[in-house]
Structures are given as structure tokens and as C-alpha cells.
Symmetry: D2
Subunit: 342 residues, 4 copies
Amino acid sequence: MISFTCDYNEGAHPAILDALVRTNFSQQPGYGADAYTEQAKARIREAVGCPGAEVFLLTGGTQTNSTVIATMLRDYQGVVAAQTGHIAVHEAGAVEYTGHKVLTLPQHEGKMDAGELAAYLEAFYADGAYEHMVFPGMVYISFPTEYGTLYSKAELQAIREVCQRYSLPLFVDGARLGYGLMSPACDLTLQELSRLCDVFTIGGTKVGALCGEAVVFPAGKAPEHFFTMVKQHGALLAKGRLLGIQFDTLFTDGLYLKIAKGAIDLAMQLKALFVGKGYELFLDSPTNQQFIILTEEAAAALEGKVAYEVWERLPDGRSVTRFATSWASTAEQLSQLAALLP
Amino acid sequence: MISFTCDYNEGAHPAILDALVRTNFSQQPGYGADAYTEQAKARIREAVGCPGAEVFLLTGGTQTNSTVIATMLRDYQGVVAAQTGHIAVHEAGAVEYTGHKVLTLPQHEGKMDAGELAAYLEAFYADGAYEHMVFPGMVYISFPTEYGTLYSKAELQAIREVCQRYSLPLFVDGARLGYGLMSPACDLTLQELSRLCDVFTIGGTKVGALCGEAVVFPAGKAPEHFFTMVKQHGALLAKGRLLGIQFDTLFTDGLYLKIAKGAIDLAMQLKALFVGKGYELFLDSPTNQQFIILTEEAAAALEGKVAYEVWERLPDGRSVTRFATSWASTAEQLSQLAALLP
Amino acid sequence: MISFTCDYNEGAHPAILDALVRTNFSQQPGYGADAYTEQAKARIREAVGCPGAEVFLLTGGTQTNSTVIATMLRDYQGVVAAQTGHIAVHEAGAVEYTGHKVLTLPQHEGKMDAGELAAYLEAFYADGAYEHMVFPGMVYISFPTEYGTLYSKAELQAIREVCQRYSLPLFVDGARLGYGLMSPACDLTLQELSRLCDVFTIGGTKVGALCGEAVVFPAGKAPEHFFTMVKQHGALLAKGRLLGIQFDTLFTDGLYLKIAKGAIDLAMQLKALFVGKGYELFLDSPTNQQFIILTEEAAAALEGKVAYEVWERLPDGRSVTRFATSWASTAEQLSQLAALLP
Amino acid sequence: MISFTCDYNEGAHPAILDALVRTNFSQQPGYGADAYTEQAKARIREAVGCPGAEVFLLTGGTQTNSTVIATMLRDYQGVVAAQTGHIAVHEAGAVEYTGHKVLTLPQHEGKMDAGELAAYLEAFYADGAYEHMVFPGMVYISFPTEYGTLYSKAELQAIREVCQRYSLPLFVDGARLGYGLMSPACDLTLQELSRLCDVFTIGGTKVGALCGEAVVFPAGKAPEHFFTMVKQHGALLAKGRLLGIQFDTLFTDGLYLKIAKGAIDLAMQLKALFVGKGYELFLDSPTNQQFIILTEEAAAALEGKVAYEVWERLPDGRSVTRFATSWASTAEQLSQLAALLP
């Protein structure tokens, strides 16, 4: 059985395992003070084009989101997100657990609209009772979104401008960042993205690492004593080298974007395969998550042979499904799918 | 330069790296539902001798401690610990961050005294104002302690009895559990330990893993929806296989205790080396952390060649130091130290 | 200038002030152990018709809501409320500050719909990823709602049934309870309400007290050590007598409902006055808060003479306004308004 | 039976009740925007001699402490207190509930020692692992202390200097401030105290009010959006007038200090009475709380006629007791005690 259920079904890119093996007995200090982490940070700073960037390596996505958000907000503030934002739905209330509200705006194929953000902020401060309400304290968007969609440069700039007007930091959750940047629909580079937000993450877990999310403060304005608060959130690895080695590898010779590109190429072929056979798309995703409306016949044909995620059963018997490719997907897997698909 | 600064200076036991390489492309579900995690849990249940035990695999020590403690306490309760307990000092207030007080008792070479615990609890409920105070809600001890010392079976039983008298769950932090169990001074087996507490951890990070702590509820009484709360604490790995593979390996053919034994043997030799040359021990640790009072002459001789941790400078110029061995320490490293030591 | 801006513009009902003066030098124990508090609780138990009810007296509404909700929820749970629920909007994130999410449902003139609640709960448990989400842990409704509307007995029963099906406690925020019960549209008695929920509050602040909300657990199932958690939330008054005397007075000879009735009678007259003069209602409220669409002409006529709250300016120049009567409102004030209103 | 158990046994000073009655029907805005609160704040600013002071009126002591501390600390910080500090012992973990650790220092008759504070801070920053620990973020002392003792001006200045060296705000909990300032042993004025700390409270509850603590930021540096956070902590009264009227009354014609002086005079007479009859003092308190070692004979004589608080039973049958006078204590009560005391 082959699986397209998600982009974290396999272990790590072989180059990462090689590096773990190669460096295994080098004695290094703990908690991220090791040489590999230093080098990884230097490489990330170069890749994002921000020599003054502060970079921290954490383990997982929910952990990273709640740590970044909790440490950047003041007590009276909440974080603004699209109602489908990962932090608003699928992180078990991790943000609220730190004492902060997630303030939600409507979503449009997973995206927040700059105009609606501006309208919300204007209305907030126009409300006579706003001092009795949770203040918007930062804006969270995901790139790509939970629906695989992307903000164009213009859309991101528009959100950025609204944020700046209200002095709100903009946080871009890049759990699948590589897959976004390598999409044919993406008109942004990593460097441009870095200049359009205050903090963002470079997801490792879903793009070739065993675990790991890099948090980047492009302008170098991490919250004071962020290290201590990472520890307080249970997000500090004793063997920081595990993260350092992985990101060092991913940011050597452009491996991160290279393997993301492979996944995107396969995703586009996968989409073409479904469309070519007449399947309807739930939405036209430009990244590695493809949302296909699968017929009962197709579901039966794939049963026990190809795994994917079912999002919703439609009344007509069809299902909204997600097929995800990843850095580990192969052309052969796609051929197998093609051969099975009615 | 060789380092005895801590037991997390190297990567992982080679068998773990082998297993990661070997399993790398097996497609597995995320969040701990993979086959390796299942197998690791089964092996741990067998090793601890509790077929009904519930086992969870988390990433790091502070994370595990705060997640276990926060999910087992009710809001009005705190956790009782020795004043040198890791949670009381070196976890950046992670427990308090979840809203709970760490209630401290005196320490005796890092250990809590059952009599003092009983006296504290008796005094608490005798105090007319106790309803205005934080209720003791569980007891935390570390095994070995932060000073490398161990509770004897009798001492642990005594603490256990006090806990039961007051219906307090007993939590044993086993970040260095293997080194405790393999100490010549230890009169407890893993199975016995399991029957003497309500929850304990089996530390992987310091005993051969890249990361990972196993949380064991021997009687199977994990807090309801513990999985969701692990996620809420940012402690759920998407690629749970990383933890599953490691603990599966460590609990195959007794590897965990075997490599801990190696570290202990070297630690005893290291202690003998220092004692033989006339150095004073700060305290007589039976585990892999050795606390040596180093002369200025010795410090000068080791300078730049052997690394260790300095805990305190004494007025006479000597220093209280910690030399830690680990699963990765070698006889050769010890010989080099012996050759250098005046 | 006369004010209809809210129902907490004045001090307290004179009977309360009399009682404060009369009892002033009686020496009483603190923290709610005084004789007045005991008597107040007994009277409330009688009024609600639940001899086994547990009653606690707290100071303010937001405080009471966040204390009740935080102490009844487990860490993995949130509270379900209509999106206009006071806790969801106007309590500065007090619930989230305690670590819990407010899960919102659509509102219908401020009310939650039982069918929508059932549909949400069904969908929640049908979602394959629900263990990654915040569990619904209790249901919060306000009676009257923030829009002055009321649940009928049938509507409340329907919500109650859904709650029971999912073992969710039902919390009724009665900050303006008296005004709800005395409404001509109300088909519920206080005793009936008590049997239809697990916890509710009897608001004093807006119904004749200087401060104070009574929390009633009709079936006597207050969270364990609720007293200590009230203290922990900063909600325990040293001079609990202040609350005891007030509720004792309000629940002597039916004063609470009597003065609420007076406010409702005036509110109905006020509504009739506006409707009679051709003003449009924003919504037809059956309680002491009346939502009137005021013309510019009317606004000009009342300027500087009658105060009210403006909720929203309409594009046509008119405003959505709130006129609230209270236990302190007088027929004379209404006459003055009538005389001024064009 | 007469009671000396505490200083919150009675209601309020009659002038306060008069003012409540007199102002009762004046219509005022809520949430502290009323004219009485404005006037109270102005009077307090004048009394403390800081025209730029920011003043907030909250309801109770634990509430005020946890709100002030939580809003002034950053997430990585804790508050330093003597181990007998009220926040460390008798506030049900309210500070920890907000996520912050109480870092304790030894106490000397309830007081913190400036030298020990300095030594702790020096050691903290000298510790190589301090980034893994809770940072000291502010210093809390009580004046008078929980043992009725007072800091001299020199002692307070010494603590202040240490705080300034480490940029730590100094918070003085003045729950019994009046009784401290009126003590014959006090060499500080209210104005001087104001210049020696960053924030302090003026306790109303124990000095003549029904409830209420004034929080004073002498230099006007309240945390940003303190109002909203007061609401978030459940500490904002809808009828802020209740607090405004009380503090307005207490700070008119020096009533606050005048009634505190009366209590102190009686406390000194009470102490003289005991000492004169040969009773031992547990400690020599200069304020309204007197700690007497009572013989069994005396206890028997007072049984059922005079109430006081028992702190501890001594092995010899005697008890450590607390007798508190207050603004409401009378010379007649003292005479009754004198007549009964063997």
C-alpha cells in the first residue's frame, strides 16, 4: 500500500541521516550551543538574506506556534488568524493554554483578506467598549495555508501594510514553507518573504527532517530572553545538535528547496492525472496538498492499495479527499496510482 | 579535547541510527500511531512488568515534567519536590507557567525525606488556614537525583506510604533512570520501581537516544485525554516514529540497561581514579555523575584537554566539579584523563 | 441629565444600605463564614427550591464567569457559547486567560440554538482529528442574553437535553436574571430554571446590589475545593459580609424579583413610548434593555438631557441605541423622556 | 463575646456608610469612570505627594497582588518575596495561577534582608545555568509584614538600592498600610514611602472600608492597558463608585491615618496590658497585630468571652496567639479584656 495521506509519513532525507551518522560521536555542548546549530543558523541567515536575523530551532509546529505567539503577545492581546488557521482549530487550544485568545476572521480558501483585516481593526478601535475586549496583538497567517493555497506577493504586502498601520507584528507559519516557495503559482522568494513579516517559521518536519521548525526573526527582534521562554514552554532540546544537523543539511546546497520542488512537481502531475481523468477538484491547490473529489468507484479501486485522507463525505456518495506529496514521494508511486485510478 | 561535562554530549547509540536508516522509507501514520511506537510501548510494558501500563513517548525532560504534572494536578494543587528538584530550579518555571506552585521540602544530597514529607502534610492539614493555601497534589522525586544520589527501596517505600496515606500520586522523574538502576548501590529493579509509583519517566535523551522520554503510568491511569493535552503542551511529535524507533531499539535485548551499565562502570572507575589520587569527593555519588573537588593544580593540568562542569568555586581555590560519564564514554577517554591528572 | 445608559448607574437598593448600617458593628468572621452569608445562602436555597444547592457569593460578573468556567473545565476542554456571549466578547479574554478556549456558535438575537449545538457536537466527534482539537466541556448561555432576549422553557429544555446527551454541564449566566424572570415573555420560574441547568448565577450588581453575584450549583455539585479556587482567582472577599448582607436583603420578602419587576414595567412603558411615537425597534426585547433605532432629530432633542448608549451608527444617520431601565428607574424619569421625545 | 481575631471583623467606618447613603441615587458611569473615583484618585495623589501618580481601585488583597504582579512581570520572570510573604503562602497560589513563580528569600520576623536580596541576585547572575531558571523580575515586600513588623526607612532604602541596581521594580503590599504608618516605630511618611517604590497598595479592607485596595504607581508607570488586564483578572467592578466613594471618604481630612492611629494606640495599650501582667511576646510587634504567648490559664479565662487567633500550640501548653485591633476597636473592649485577663 502506498500512502499520500500526509507529508510526514516517512523518516528523513537520506542526507540528514548521513549527517547524523557522520557527526554522531563529536562531543558538543547542549541546548543549541553546538557547532552544527551555529552553522545551521548562519546558513539560514544567508538563505533568507537577513544577516541580522535571529534564528531558533524548535521541535514541532504546535510547539513553535504557541511559543512564538505567547512570547510576542502582552497579556491583554490575542492573535488574529483566519478561522481555518491551524492555531484556531487543530492545535488543541495550545494558544489559549498560554492565556491568549485566537481572534478569527473569515477565510477564503484558507486565506485571510487584507481588507477584512483592516475593517476588523478599524471597527475594534471604533468600538466604545474596546477596552473590555481582547486587543489584537499580532497577525498569524500560514504559507501555504491549511488548504494548500498561497498568498501572492501583493496580498502579503497588503496584509503587511495593515499590520504596520496598527503596529502589529506579522507571523507567517511556514510549516510547509518549501512547498509554498516552490509552487509554480508562487511569486515570492524566501528573501522577499523575510522582508514582509516580523517572524516566520521554516518547517522541517514536513520537508525532509525527522522533526524541527526554524523560527526566524528577520530583523533580529526576538522577544527578550526567548531562550528561557523556549525552555519554559518545554521546547528546548538538550541535544540541540539533532536540530542543528538537520537544518545545516537542509540549507546546504539548497537541499530544502530542491526536495520541496520535487514534491511540487509530483503534486502537479498528480493533479493533472486526476483532472485528466475527469475528477473534480475541491479547490485548485498550487502546492503539495491536492484536494480531490473522489467518486465511489475510484474509492473502491484504491481501497487497500492507496491511502489518502478523507475530509468530508458528500451527499452524492463522493468524498472530498486530500492527496499529499512530499520530498519522499516518487514517480513510481504516482505511476501506481495512475494505473489504479479508474 | 574530551568532555565529561554531561551525558548528552554525543548523538545516539549506533543501533538507534541504524534503526532510523533501516526504517526510513517505511510509510507510517503520524502522531505516535506508527508500528514502531506500538512496538516500543509493548516492549516497555514488558520491561516494567506491567501489562496494563499506559506508555507515552515525549521529546524532552522539562516538557515531560510539566506536561505530566499539569495534567495530573487540579487547579488548587501544587507539586511537592525537594528544593533541589529539577522542576524547582532548572526548568525556567515551566511548572508555574502551567499555573501550579512547586511546594519545596528540604533536600538531603538531593533527596526528599519521607518523614519530612509526612510532617509537612500533617502540618498542612492541621493549619487552620489551609484552604487559603496551595494543596499538595502530587509528589515529585528524581531517580537518580540531581546530585546523582539514589533512594533505597526502603526510602522509596516510605515515601510511597506517605503518598498513599494522603492519596497523592507519586511521580518519579527518571531522566537518568538507567544510570540509577545500574548503580551498584541500587537495590531496586525497574519492575519494583514501577510498582512503587503512579507515574515515572524513562529518560532516553541522556541514555543513548537523540531525544525522548517515555512516560509510564504503571497502573494504566493516565489522565483522561492525555494525548490531547500532550498536543496542547506542544509535546506531540508529528513523526512519532522518531521516538518509537528509538525506544523500540533501546528496549530490544536490554540495550537501555546495558549501555547504562557501561557508563556506570566507567563512572566508578573515574571515582576510584580521583579518590586514588587523593581528591576529595563533594559527595559520594553512586551513579554516572561524579562530584569531585578539584585542586587548582588539577584544573590547570586539565585545561584545554578535558572538559567538565564547574558547580562552585571554593574560597581555597579549589572547585566543586561534575564529571559525567555516559553510554558514549570510553575506557580510552578515562585513560587520557588518568594520564593528565596530577 | 437622566441616564438610561445601563442598569448599574446608581448605588444600591435602600434596604441594602439600611442593612449595612444596621449590621455594621456586629463582629463576624471573614471570608464568607459570617452569619449574614449563611442566612443569604439559606434564603437562596429556598428561593431556587433546591435544599441541597451549594451557593457561593462572588463580587463581579466577569470574575464569576471565569472562575466558574475555569474550575469546571478540564485542561483539554473549552466552553461553548453564542458568538455574542459576554464571555466571548466583552470580558477581555478572562476565560482564555485561565487557559480555556471559548468555542462559539452562531447567535440568533443573542441566543444559541439547540439544533446548532447538537449539530456542532455531532460534527466534533465525527471529525477524525478531534483529538487535536479543543473538546467542548460545558455550555454557557446568558439569561437574559446580551440583547435582552430570553430562552423559552422549551428552548432551554432542548439545550439541556443536548447537554445531557454529551454529559456537558450547562451554565446559565444570570447577570440580569431578575429582569429575565420578571419579563412578561418569560415562561420559566426561578425554580424551573434551577432544575434545567448545572450551575447558574443570580446577578446582584445590576439588580439592586452594590456588587455581588451568587453562584448556585442546584444539585450541590460544586467543583472540589471551590473555595480555594475562588481565592486563587482573587474572587474571595475578606469581608464576605458585604455580599452576605446584600443577598440576604435581596432574598428577604422577594425583594429581588419585586424590584426587577418594577424595572420591567418601566421598560415595557418605555418601549411602548418609542413604538407609539413611530420609532423602529432594532429588536423586540422583552426585558429591561430596549434597543431603539433613534432618528437624528430625536438624538438632537435628547442631547444633554437624556443619556443612553449608542451601539451603532446607521448609514442613514439614525443610530441603534440601548435604553436600560433598572430597579432604580422611576416613572418620573420616563415622563421626562416622554416629554422630550419628538 | 468580643473579638480581636482580625482587623476585618466589622463593616465600614460610619463616614463611609454615610457617603454611600448620601450619594446613592446619583447616576454615574460604571467601571471607575464615576466622579467619586476621580475625586478619590485626586485625593490619593495629593496624599502620597505624587501629582503624576496613576491610581487604580481594586476590590481585594489577593486579587490586587496577583493582578499587579502578573501585569508587571514578563513571562520569564518571577517575583521575589520573603518566605512568609502573603503571596508565597496564603493566597492559594494566585500568583502561580497567572504563570509566575514566587522566588523566596529567608524572612526575619517577616522581613526581607537587603543584603540577602543582593546576595541572591548576585548569585543568580553568576550561575552558569541562569538562563534555565526563573529570572527575578520584581521584589515584593509587605508593610507592615505578616508579623506586624516594619521596615525602617534605612532598610527600605537599602532594598530599593538593590532593586535599582538590578532594574527590578519594588512592590510594597500595604494591605495594612495605615497601621504601619501610624506605628510609633515608623520613621517613614506616606510621601517618603511613595518615593521608595515603584508600586504600592493602600489597603482599605482592613482600615475602615467594606472592601477595596488602592494601587498606586507613584511615578505614573502603570503597565500599558492596565485597565483591560484588571478586567481580565476579574478585578474590575461595574459599580466602581463603591470603591471611589470609600477611598474618597478615607482620604478626606486624613480619615485613613486618623482611624489607623486609633487602632495603633489601642494595640500599644493591649501590648502593655499583656506585658504588664507578665505575658511573653512571641515577637515585639509595633503595629496593630500583637503576638502574645498565652498561658493555658489565660486561655481558659478568655474562653467564650474574648476571641483571638491561635497560631501555634507550644509543647508547654501555652499558645502563640494573635490579637488584632482595628479602626473599630474600642477602649471599652480593651477594658473588658483587661478585666478578664488573669
